[in-house]
């Protein structure tokens, strides 16, 4: 599948890939123009279907509650009610949930990348008994559904918490370690194929020059694997930011405990609670806050994000 790892923008920028002029057959001037018009129409319709709901959510976040009920469809709020955001941020605890998510992600993505590439490197470039077995052990995690592990994982973390509260439920450290463990399968799989392609000559030269194996890894091989690291990094950031099942399973706080939940849980809570409090504008503000930062980052780095994510599937 090497074809899809090419950054998608690379050629499309120069317009005109695809087939040359179809003469005869279905081509021709008028047919071509009708086809062209139809393509535009359909593409515009789909673009509207993607953008319109997002825009509606963002705009509704600025309306007052009364306006959300009275004029649910309008895209231009009467005035900008910034207090919706502060309400969701403070009363809906989204602010602290954001902090929790960032804290967990910094730890979990960093650790996933480090441990994942260490394991992948050793498995890809050193021969030792059990190499294949460990590799396939990691690989098998890709096919098994997470729901199968839910019950024992919940129990295990709960029991661990009795002895070491830091590794028990509702702890950031525990969530970081669980995220890392569940991300390792794909990270090892992806980086394994990457390390395999790196040239041997450089590694041998470094060893002859007296570098130790770990020094060879950290100062030569890891920098050479940079493109792969960026792809899998983007993949893991988005994947772990999107996690909702593991947190809902493992991060329930008993009353009196600090609220350590992540943003996805905050949104679910907000969407359940607005049912009784009917704070619609606050809900829209919450969704907007969870949505916009990612979208902005995506638009800024769209080429890297697209190629990073599609490379993830293509391998």
């Amino acid at each position: 599948m090497s074809t899809v790892t090419r950054p998608p923008g690379e050629r499309s920028r120069a317009a005109a890939p695809g087939p040359a002029t179809p003469r005869g057959g279905g081509g021709g001037g008028l047919g071509g123009r009708i086809f062209n018009g139809f393509s535009h129409l359909f593409l515009v319709v789909w673009a509207v279907m993607v953008i319109y709901p997002l825009l509606w959510v963002v705009m509704s976040a600025f309306k007052s509650d009364a306006e959300v009920i009275r004029q649910p469809l309008s895209l231009i709020p009467e005035k900008l009610n910034w207090d919706n955001f502060s309400r969701a941020w403070v009363d809906g605890h989204l602010g602290s949930f954001f902090g929790n998510t960032l804290l967990v992600l910094v730890g979990s993505v960093g650790l996933t990348m480090l441990l994942g590439s260490m394991a992948a490197y050793v498995l890809a470039r050193y021969e030792f008994p059990g190499n294949r077995a460990i590799y396939y052990l990691f690989l098998s995690g890709l096919t098994l559904p997470i729901y199968l592990a839910a019950v024992p994982l919940f129990k295990g973390v709960y029991n661990m918490g009795v002895v070491f509260p830091l590794l028990g439920p509702n702890s950031h450290l525990m969530l970081i370690l669980v995220y890392v463990a569940w991300s390792l399968s794909f990270t090892v799989f992806f980086m394994h194929s990457f390390f395999r392609t790196l040239p041997n000559a450089v590694a041998e030269a470094a060893l002859v020059d007296g570098a130790s194996h770990s020094r060879l890894f950290f100062s030569v091989m890891l920098p050479m694997a940079r493109p792969g690291l960026i792809s899998i990094g983007i993949f893991n950031v988005l994947g772990q930011w999107n996690q909702w099942y593991l947190p809902t399973l493992l991060m329930q706080s008993v009353s009196g405990e600090p609220k350590n939940q992540v943003i996805a849980q905050g949104l679910i809570e907000l969407s359940v609670n607005q049912g009784y409090r009917s704070d619609w504008s606050g809900l829209f503000a919450g969704v907007t806050m969870a949505m916009l930062p990612v979208l902005v980052v995506y638009i800024a780095f769209q080429r890297q994000v697209q190629s990073g994510l599609t490379a993830g599937v293509g391998k």
Partner: protein
Amino acid sequence: MRHGVARFVSGFLFLPVALYLLYVVWPFAQAAGYSLTNWGGYSDRQEFVGLDNYVRLFSDELIRKAFWHNVFFLVTVPLFTIALALFLAFLLNVGGREDRAGVRGVFGSGFYRVVFFFPQVLSLVVIAVMWQQIYRGDGQGLINGLLMRIGLVDEENPVAFTADPEPFLGVPAVLWWLLFIAVWSGAGFYMVLFSAAMQSIPKDIYEAALLDGAGRVHTFFKITLPLLRDTVSVAWVYLGFIALDMYALVFVMTPSQGGPDHASEIFASVLNFTAFQKGQFGYACAMGVALAIFTILLAALQLRITRRERIEY
């Protein structure tokens, strides 16, 4: 020297393997063990019951329902997503005006490529909460509001969306509405994937076809599609896993997380309800093991069917 290598290898592998064993492999293994017991999860009482839980699965009405709903998503999510994504990629790459240089990508294709990808970077929960508001069962919902404005829907009788258990084509309406969201959020991503693959097909293949007098649509079905086979089959496997993941939508969007009246129940929702509400951990683990076996068989089957000789170019 050899000794040093062994120390290095085990040093690098120790932490990742330990974490993986502790949080992934061990729970899986335990699940298989618990599935043979009648453990309730909250007490110490735990008796070995052999394969009783598995036998019970086959006569469980709810599980049977959930199974067919899973199969529905497994077929429809990849089918509709891939069809739409292929269509969009086709329009983007060959939909444009013709001139001496050949058929161009459609005007603004860069913009579409960016926009269609938007849902992919949003989290499932954000998408679910957003669509919950769009699908609202009164005039405050985006779709119902629009339909009422233009008079297509009566204010007394709005579209119920995810609260609608009535069957459409033999499948509860709520499942179709959830399917729509899955396709909406997945199409852009696969369009980008297919688009990249289409661009890597060399032009001379097309030129040869055109000399033979093939039209645009014809070339698509006879040349582009067969050459994309590899990419499409990978996408199919991948979307199969996503279809098993529909739980996020069911969890956030449907009444009592699988309702109304169990119309949107899927494996994962039944499993979670059985374990954490009904407190039947042993039985829930048996469901998990069954789901895992089902998944693995399916992945193997899909890889088998879609495997074919590669065309090198």
